[in-house]
Symmetry: C2
């Protein structure tokens, strides 16, 4: 008998590449940049960057923080790495050490910092606000910039709020605002408005560069239609124990599940410490493969830090050491996230952040 | 102006020590073991283990996985490190390398594996099931063990399901079941039933060893009364930008917030990528310190991966670079978790798992 204790995270790099190529095609002439912030949405920024850099010639990456960019400079030596949260007193040293890192400047205050601490030969990106009301220069801020200030920047970018809803009125409104501000203040530099979801809003939204994140990792960033991307993430965990739960017995913390009849249960080695949302308590599903068949069972009781308990009464073949599927091509990270009441972005950004996961 | 970009996680090690000492006193004669699984609930197992080992002479630690134990062997060289998820094909090598690691055996199958792969001079812990219906030997499993088998073990343990509710009927029921099985099968070895919450159920629940986890880290494991522990975790993040939100404007993804009047907003550098639950969207609070005064404001719109947006209309003094408090002694991780619809265990096990956090 194969006794296993650790959860497993599998990344399908071929599918990741295929997604990158599909998205690049959909974006026509726009330069594709890969968004690998938050450790490539939890999947591992080093490996993801290496694969895209060496196998798909990707030369533009976005991270949120300079320390994230620092981790991939070795794996993508000729690439430009844009840092969305920008530059400040707490990361200036990282920028000074790695000349591939290019700050995104999103506020007048950060721009003042930049002017006092310029890096040689680096032209930052400027982020402008067009409706998300998150980071970025408003029109009134841009009006205060001198002609020389405006020439400091290499790219002008903004970010869409509702691009995952194709018909949302915000999309057209942000496009118009972006087009107008770009024309007025930055007529001669490349522009970037769209992330993965924006790519599918049409050619007007592409400009010179698109920022490919969620869809790269197989997340459906166009939930108004079937996912066009291939699955990248598979999450599995081994059965540690199988036992009989007598009728009337309770399961898990706070005894939130009670057996209405005798059940067969499996204790599986994954929990919220591994990033599995606790909101899957008494709701989430896991799956077993029986030759070609996929068999479904339910999480019962609370998700605990290291374990879940599943009702496997109908899974006759299950044995200790078998692997339960949490997410796979037949039940994707989008499906698991929906069950947990969140989005796959949050789900995968948590999964795999501990050292317990075996990774391919 | 101080421009900052990174969130900050502060661990108060003095308060951690104070909690350890309080819990140790409450547990009377029982040996205190520190539970530092899942990277010490996300706070950093190496530092936590070092502090408890060197400053409080803690010599017993529990982790979930052997790879977690491996990370602290250097920092706690004379300690015993018990591995709750046990031993199997995927971590046998780790046990063979580090003789401080002691597996907890929770199933007949794992015990068979143990007998085939015994480690010299190691006597494992046995976990028995008393009502949580998670990992552990049931009575029928114990009956199948030979006298020699029973002598294999150094400690017998179980785990309570409802110890955070003092009057819950399960507590007494599990205590009776544990006492009976211990007497019958393991009369001569030390026993351990209680985690932090169990310590406060009274001396009957202490046995020879208690396993101190949540309460060490300042979590209120006795929510039926005010927290007796000191606060250990402070989470802060800097304001990246302050701007005016005109009446009628929307905020964040999917435009879930709309301003009913002109507001002043702050964009703050922390998001679900940093472990802040996305369920705090339009619900969570952040705080600013103004001399001695604590001023509260609300997260508006969705929590995104790297940022939150807060309504700071009433915080006149706020400036770019100021630090917003997410959790602190005046609004603890228990409070934040409640706002997010979860428990502080899940909250802190996510926070700080990325590389962006500055740590003390």
């Amino acid at each position: 008998m194969n006794i296993l204790t650790r959860p497993i995270l599998e990344i399908n790099y071929d599918n990741l590449l295929s997604n990158y190529i599909s998205l690049t095609k959909a974006a026509n002439e726009a330069i594709p940049a890969a968004v690998i912030k938050d450790d490539a949405y939890g999947l591992g920024a080093k490996s993801v960057a290496s694969v895209l850099y060496t196998r798909a010639n990707c030369r533009h990456f976005f991270v949120a923080h300079a320390v994230e960019g620092e981790k991939i400079v070795e794996n993508a030596q000729e690439a430009k790495i844009y840092v969305l949260q920008g530059i400040g007193n707490d990361n200036l040293d990282v920028f000074q050490k790695h000349h591939q890192l290019i700050p995104v400047i999103s506020s007048p205050e950060m721009f003042a910092f930049w002017k006092a601490n310029k890096l040689p030969d680096i032209k930052p990106v400027i982020q402008i606000e067009t409706g998300l009301n998150r980071l970025g220069f408003r029109e009134k801020d841009l009006q205060k910039l001198s002609d020389d200030d405006l020439k400091e920047f290499s790219i002008v970018m903004s970010h869409l709020a509702c691009a995952d809803e194709k018909e949302h009125f915000m999309n057209q409104r942000q496009l118009e605002q972006f087009t107008q501000l770009k024309k007025k203040f930055f007529p001669n530099i490349p522009a970037s408005l769209s992330a993965s979801d924006g790519v599918f809003l049409g050619a007007d939204f592409h400009f010179e560069m698109v920022r490919l994140g969620a869809a790269l990792y197989g997340i459906n960033s166009t939930p108004y239609r079937q996912n066009q991307m291939r699955n990248v993430v598979t999450i599995k965990a081994p059965i540690l124990q199988i036992t009989t739960l007598p009728k009337g017995e309770f399961v898990g913390y706070s005894a939130t599940y009670r057996a209405s009849s005798e059940r067969k249960i499996a204790i599986i080695s994954i929990g919220y410490g591994d990033g599995l949302p606790r909101s899957l308590s008494n709701v989430g599903k896991v799956f077993f493969k029986n030759k070609e068949k996929i068999e479904e069972c339910r999480i019962i009781g609370r998700v605990s830090m290291d374990n879940i308990i599943c009702d496997i009464t109908n899974i006759s073949h299950a044995q200790v050491g078998d692997l339960a599927y949490i997410a796979a091509d037949f039940y994707t990270i989008d499906d698991v996230a929906r069950d947990a009441g969140t989005i796959a972005y949050e789900l995968i950004s948590r999964i795999g952040k501990n050292s317990r996961f075996l990774r391919n």
